[in-house]
């Protein structure tokens, strides 16, 4: 899956606003519980950690478990008091990390 992460948050906000952030990453989230045609277990491969930072400071982070469905979708809120950059990271079981950034202007 070479899909880029999907982000949805406002480009501008007023100081003190609570904004809604939506993120989605295309990922199979293979649970490690399924078996293939020959009865062999399909190895687990999930996104196990998601974090969101704003100007280097943590906003939100979570551990993901195998029960989370494919294409993990996160929706959360943040209070913004200054302009800056949100940085999102998704960590895969195989160690690879996907990142994405989005700027917001706070007036």
């Amino acid at each position: 899956m070479a899909e880029k992460p999907r982000l949805k948050l406002p480009k501008e906000a007023k100081k003190g606003d609570v904004i809604e952030i939506k993120t989605l990453l295309a990922h199979t989230m293979e649970s490690g519980q399924r078996k293939d045609k020959d009865g062999k277990t399909i190895p687990r491969k999930i996104i196990n950690k998601f974090t969101c930072e704003f100007n280097g400071k943590p906003v939100f982070s979570t551990t993901l478990e195998p029960a989370i469905a494919a294409n993990p979708y996160m929706q959360f809120y943040a209070k913004v008091t200054e302009s800056g950059t949100f940085k999102f990271t998704w960590t895969d079981d195989d160690g690879s990390v996907t990142t994405a950034e989005e700027k917001i202007t706070v007036a």
């Binding site: 899909e3 999907r6 949805k8 295309a26």
Partner: protein, 422 residues
């Protein structure tokens, strides 16, 4: 082989004087003359022999009608005579009527009191919760299950015995169970009552890429559109302004194609046009083909569906589509019009049967339960396999006729692609 890039229909404008580097002739002209879009005329647009998708039931239904072939044995003329009263096992019967593995069995269409402790009965056919009070003879009950066509040739009920879903002993068990049904159904939950079950409503924003992963196909197709093949050409070589050039195109598809003597839908057109121009190999039911189809429909979003039915050939194709929609196919012996006509807007077990209008404007669509994009031809194929008929290859001319008819039933609805459905 390549005919060069010709100025085509109303949407295919050509860059004047563009010289194409291909070995054969290069004929780009900005003439107003009506030139048909080049299409591959020989090869099929999907593999032959057609192989069913992995994960779909592998059963062989070749003993029964398909949309291309008549094979179903004729209906019996007379009811079967019973030699004595039926002494089946009502408890076994209660399980059989709710057995989803037997073509959906009785509960797909009938409420049957407490049958098998099962959930979500359908309401296509009469509630049989009190059939035990109806004073029906054993022989009548047996034959109604075995093959109801002996009493009602127009019935939509599958011939459970004649078509081998149940053997005689099992039908005896079912009849024994039917005779125990003597009081109105009591439902465990309100959802189990098909008269009160809420009709599904699709409210998600299907054009939001966070809601609908099929929207990612639009970006994929935009890249494919610009990608040059070994020939040196891309779609964009000729179609330099797709947003304008394809603003209405997909809403007027499918269309009658005299060069192939069949109806062409968007997906088959993509395969044949790409082959004849850039040389891209975009066979139907591949990810590239689906992405291009989503994109070309997406560009025409908001445009009302309006197909060209003017020619005698187009009218004949639609007439064939109407006939095909009434043909009984498969082991379940059902026609399109059984579920989406007679039984439309009812429940078949836990599934809502839609009417034809509204079944076309959102295709290709995202299937949330499958994490996949389905075009209309794959949807047709699944309908067939679902009623236990062999499906046809996606570019079969019969599907063309059927899609054409479906498009006329959806005329005026505005395209909203990619859709999103469970």
């Amino acid at each position: 082989m390549r005919e060069g890039i010709l100025s085509g229909n109303a949407v295919a404008l050509i860059v004047a004087g563009a010289v194409l580097a291909s070995g054969s002739q290069a004929l780009a002209q900005a003439t107003p003359a009506k030139r048909e879009a080049p299409i591959e005329l020989k090869a099929d647009a999907s593999p032959r022999p057609w192989k069913r998708y992995p994960g779909w039931p592998a059963r062989d239904y070749s003993k029964y009608n398909t949309l291309a072939n008549l094979a179903t044995p004729p209906a019996p003329k007379e009811p079967r005579k019973l030699t004595g009263p039926i002494t089946g096992d009502a408890k076994k019967g209660a399980e059989l009527v709710a057995d989803r593995a037997r073509g959906g069995s009785c509960l797909a269409c009938h409420v049957m009191g407490p049958a098998g402790g099962a959930n979500l009965p359908g309401n296509v056919a009469p509630d049989l919760s009190e059939i035990g009070n109806a004073g029906r003879e054993d022989e009548w009950l047996f034959n109604y299950v075995y093959d109801a066509r002996v009493y009602n040739p127009e019935t939509v009920m599958p011939p459970w015995g004649s078509h081998g879903f149940f053997d005689e002993a099992e039908i005896n068990d079912i009849v024994a169970f039917l005779k125990t049904l003597k009081s109105p159904a009591v439902f465990k939950t309100e959802l189990d009552n098909p008269e009160k079950r809420p009709v599904p409503v699709e409210k998600r924003d299907n054009l939001d890429p966070i809601e609908n992963p099929a929207m990612w196909a639009v970006e994929k197709a935009e890249a494919l559109f610009k990608q040059r093949t070994a020939s040196g050409f891309a779609c964009a070589t000729c179609h330099n302004d797709p947003k304008t050039q394809f603003k209405t195109w997909a809403a007027a598809m499918p269309k009658w194609e005299p060069r192939l003597n069949k109806v062409l839908g968007v997906e088959e057109f993509i395969t044949r046009h790409a082959k004849a121009t850039t040389g891209a190999d975009w066979m139907m039911e591949t990810d590239d083909n689906r992405a291009m189809s989503v994109y070309l429909h997406f560009l025409a979003n908001g445009e009302p569906i309006k197909v060209d039915t003017a020619s005698a050939e187009a009218k004949a194709a639609i007439a064939r589509g109407v006939e095909l929609s009434k043909r009984k196919v498969g082991q379940l012996n059902m026609a399109c019009t059984d579920c989406h006509g007679i039984a439309a807007n009812k429940w078949i077990r836990g599934q809502w049967l839609g009417e034809p209008k509204g079944q076309y404007d959102h295709f290709p669509t995202w299937r949330t339960n499958l994490l996949a994009i389905w075009d209309i031809r794959q949807r047709f194929q699944w309908c067939q396999v679902n009623i236990r008929a062999d499906e046809l290859p996606p570019d079969a001319k019969e599907y063309g006729d059927l899609e054409f008819y479906l498009a006329t039933q959806n005329e005026g609805l505005k395209l909203s692609v990619p859709g999103i459905r469970h």
